[in-house]
């Protein structure tokens, strides 16, 4: 029996994985350096290998058609005709072993507890500054810091109800936090929808692999929202606030409202009277207690933030400050996922929890510190330099690819304004077998797990959004630059 199994395994791997070669100097999620499947995934790899490329191509095609017909799409900005596209999807799943995910889960819970305490502290006594753990200039320069929120306590005591934490895996296979998303992280709808598709396409492989379910996320999210309501329990009215159908993530907003059974509202549907929030309905005004807002906080309330916002609800922040409405996520969270504060998250964990961080992060040099700055300037060709107040790839130097002139330019900028810059060594993202026009090739991936925090504390969805750089040689997993997604299979413990 053992004999025949190992035989069919080695024969099977030739099938779909024929010619698959992990990238040098890169951790492959599915295969070890010798080309054998990692032990936890042997069974799934064996079953997947039995598919012919023709079978797989057909399944991939069916999957794409299904996503389009279900309208699992994002809107393309700047297109007057309201063009929608499906988020490119690779049917080949990304697997995560049970013990790996157990560590991720504990690490994320720890991280979210510390980040929540950091926000309470920053908008309260600011002990972490007083005790010299974080240099004040790092905080006061952070774009996400909102001093006008000082002293406001969020209903239910929770600030980071929904977090999406981006993880990558280095060449040794070590998981590292690359970025925290604590404002309006998106993508979880694809986690749930991708799963529907892969269950339909690979029922046997899926069954054999013993995968944790993800479809209870909306139920947990609804519970999380209710848990922070200023009024008790079942009578609480929670809504999802969207900027509208032209927003690129509109599908997700409507998906979450639908799967939670909540109303999807737009700002003009809401108004504030006597520091209470009401919704305009066909039966007159209805009181709203919890708002899962997917509107950027700059557009939440024209009285406080962006004065020209037409997306906002005037007076919303007054109602929030009075404790009459819970906002998820709380405004002001941007300070905790700011690039300038990221290097200090391990310090926060030690400071607030007196624990050692469970998850590693990417080594980050803070140019404000003399030693760090000197190191960065001496090693610019190996570094990725980021301006802390810019996002989306702007204000960045990719050291390994940059020209000498570009590096000199950044050297001058860092010396002129050291506080504005941090630097990290470029990490070789791990790779995963990916369907590339007719066969399977390694492509680089990251992972965004989702963490919900209710009054009872953080909960991690056993799954996540795997984003994949579909272009050969690329490190960019962003959907606007050739990135796609995969279903993420977190395996159950072996019985």
């Amino acid at each position: 029996m053992g004999q025949s199994q190992s035989q069919s395994q080695s024969q099977g791997l030739v099938g779909l994985f024929d010619g698959y070669a992990p990238l040098p100097g890169t951790f492959d999620e599915m295969f070890d350096a010798s080309g054998a499947p990692r032990p936890a995934f042997a069974r799934a790899a064996q079953l997947l290998a039995k598919m012919t490329p023709e079978d797989f191509a057909r399944a991939q095609q069916l999957a794409e058609t299904a996503l389009l017909q279900q309208g699992v799409t994002f809107s393309v900005y700047g297109d007057a005709r309201g063009t929608e596209k499906i988020f490119p999807f690779c049917l080949f799943p990304r697997l995560i072993a049970a013990d790996d995910f157990r560590r991720i889960e504990r690490g994320l819970q720890q991280r979210l507890r510390a980040l929540g305490m950091f926000l309470d502290d920053i908008y309260g006594d600011q002990r972490i500054l007083a005790e010299g753990i974080i240099p004040p200039e790092m905080l006061f320069g952070a774009a996400g810091y909102r001093p006008m929120l000082n002293g406001i306590k969020p209903p239910g005591g929770v600030r980071i109800h929904i977090a999406g934490i981006d993880l990558i895996r280095d060449p040794e296979g070590t998981w590292r936090v690359l970025e925290d998303n604590l404002r309006t992280p998106s993508g979880v709808s694809y986690v749930v929808e991708n799963r529907v598709i892969s269950k339909r396409m690979f029922p046997r492989v899926f069954d054999a692999a013993r995968v944790h379910r993800v479809d209870h996320y909306p139920t947990r999210l609804a519970e999380t929202l209710r848990s922070v309501s200023p009024i008790a329990g079942d009578d609480a009215c929670a809504v999802v606030l969207t900027p509208g159908p032209y927003n690129s993530a509109y599908f997700e907003h409507s998906f979450l409202a639908r799967t939670m059974g909540l109303e999807l509202v737009q700002a003009p549907d809401l108004y504030v009277d006597g520091d209470k929030v009401y919704c305009r309905t066909t039966r007159g005004p209805k009181r709203v207690d919890v708002i899962y807002r997917r509107t950027d906080e700059a557009f939440l309330d024209p009285e406080v933030f962006n004065k020209d916002s037409v997306l906002g609800v005037a007076g919303l922040m007054r109602a929030y400050a009075a404790g009459n409405v819970a906002l998820a996520n709380a405004p002001g969270n941007g300070v905790a996922d700011d690039k300038a504060l990221y290097p200090f998250v391990p310090d926060m964990i030690e400071f607030y929890l007196a624990e050692q961080p469970i998850l590693e992060q990417v080594r980050t040099y803070v140019c404000l510190f003399d030693d760090d700055r000197q190191y960065v300037l001496e090693h610019l060709p190996e570094m990725v330099v980021k301006a802390v107040d810019e996002a989306g790839g702007y204000g960045m130097l990719m050291g390994p690819q940059a020209s000498a002139d570009e590096r000199d330019e950044f050297r001058r900028r860092i010396e002129a304004e050291p506080r504005r810059y941090i630097a990290q060594p470029r990490v070789e993202l791990s790779s995963c077998p990916t369907w590339c026009a007719g066969h399977v090739e390694p492509r680089r991936v990251d992972l965004r797990p989702y963490v919900l925090t209710s009054r009872e504390g953080p909960w991690v969805l056993p799954g996540g959004l795997t984003r994949v750089a579909l272009v050969r040689g690329s490190y960019v997993v962003n959907s606007s630059q050739g990135g796609g997604s995969k279903d993420t299979w977190v395996l159950k413990e072996t019985a």
């Binding site: 389009l68 017909q69 279900q70 309208g71 309201g82 999802v240 509208g244 159908p245 509109y250 599908f251 409507s254 998906f255 409202a257 639908r258 909540l262 109303e263 999807l264 509202v265 737009q266 003009p268 549907d269 919704c279 305009r280 309905t281 066909t282 039966r283 007159g284």
Partner: protein
């Protein structure tokens, strides 16, 4: 229920119904044109008149003239009524409107209903729909009709029967009243003013009435009620007053009133919507009372004009009172 959402529900219903009506009318006219023995313009022009886009067609397509050959060119008229992006009631515009409204309230519709709308939209505007249109015209219209009927059926069989569905259905019914009234008005006028023909005139007239009935999916129902006799008076009476025919004016107005009673119960005076409800109640009673009066000649036109005007008025009041306009 949020007023904006109610508005999307209402317009979703109207656009789905309008899509179906357009497909049905064009299919019936295309079939009729094959053996009509009438000048082609007399087959196709009424389609444009009913759509309310006669002037638009004259200006943009027919060179500003009423004698232009485009009026009788079935291909030109169909292209205008199916694909023209600038024609506000073209099939693609109605389908786009249905889909856009549905997308704005996806969380309100059932997944199955949403998928049905999304699929027909993708199909009709994509390669499969265009190919079908070019090669099998009648199948194209049939496919669109079936998809819209599937959508309406799915709404009723998969959604909660409460306020959102009531608003969708209110939209469907009020759109249907207008469609039936305008179709009957235009055709009644055209058919009863046909030039006398020495031979076969009656045959043509019968065929015309049957075409109208087919365009309203009512030929079988009518023939059952009328025992196979086709007359202008009989058809008009049927389309106005037949309480059991789901596309008659009496049926649609009364059902719309019932839907609005569910949305805004008559005894709950504190709720908004009282004026719309009263307007609809009065129209319902008025249509019912017409059953007692003879229906011929100019009376038909007056009756139908009144219905169309009242429905227009009611939609305006609904918008202000309940739909956040």
């Amino acid at each position: 229920m949020i007023s904006r959402v109610a508005d999307h529900c209402f317009w979703f219903g109207r656009y789905v119904e309008r899509t179906e009506a357009t497909a049905r009318t064009l299919a019936a006219s295309a079939s009729f044109a094959l053996d009509a023995e009438l000048p082609a313009a007399q087959v196709w022009r009424p389609v444009l008149v009913v759509s309310g886009e006669e002037d638009e067609f004259r200006t943009r397509i027919a060179g500003g003239s009423d004698d232009h050959p485009a009026w009788g060119d079935g291909e030109v008229v169909q292209r205008f009524m199916v694909w023209d992006d600038d024609n506000g009631v073209s099939l693609v515009r109605s389908l786009g409107g249905a889909r856009w409204n549905a997308r704005s309230i996806r969380e309100v519709l059932s997944l199955e209903a949403w998928e049905a709308v999304n699929e027909i939209h993708l199909w009709a505007l994509g390669e499969p729909g265009r190919t079908m249109y070019a090669q099998h015209r009648d199948t194209f219209y049939q496919h669109v009709r079936r998809a819209t009927q599937l959508t309406l059926g799915l709404l009723r069989s998969t959604m909660l029967h409460d306020e959102p569905l009531d608003f969708v259905w209110l939209g469907v019914l009020l759109e249907r009243v207008s469609q039936t009234a305008r179709m009957l008005d235009v055709h009644h006028h055209a058919f009863t003013n046909l030039p006398a023909r020495p031979d076969g005139g009656e045959v043509v007239e019968t065929a015309l009435w049957l075409t109208l009935l087919r365009a309203l999916s009512g030929s079988e129902a009518y023939l059952k009620r009328a025992g196979g006799r086709v007359s202008s008076h009989g058809v008009a009476r049927f389309l106005v007053s037949e309480a059991a025919f789901p596309r008659s004016i009496a049926y649609c107005v009364h059902s719309a009133y019932e839907r609005l009673c569910d949305i805004r119960p008559p005894e709950q005076h504190e709720l908004p919507g009282g004026v719309s409800l009263e307007q609809l109640r009065v129209l319902d009673a008025w249509v019912a009372a017409r059953n007692q009066e003879p229906l011929a000649g100019a009376a038909v036109h007056e009756l139908l004009t009144h219905v169309v005007d009242e429905v227009h008025e009611i939609c305006g009041t609904l918008g202000k009172e309940l739909l956040g306009a």
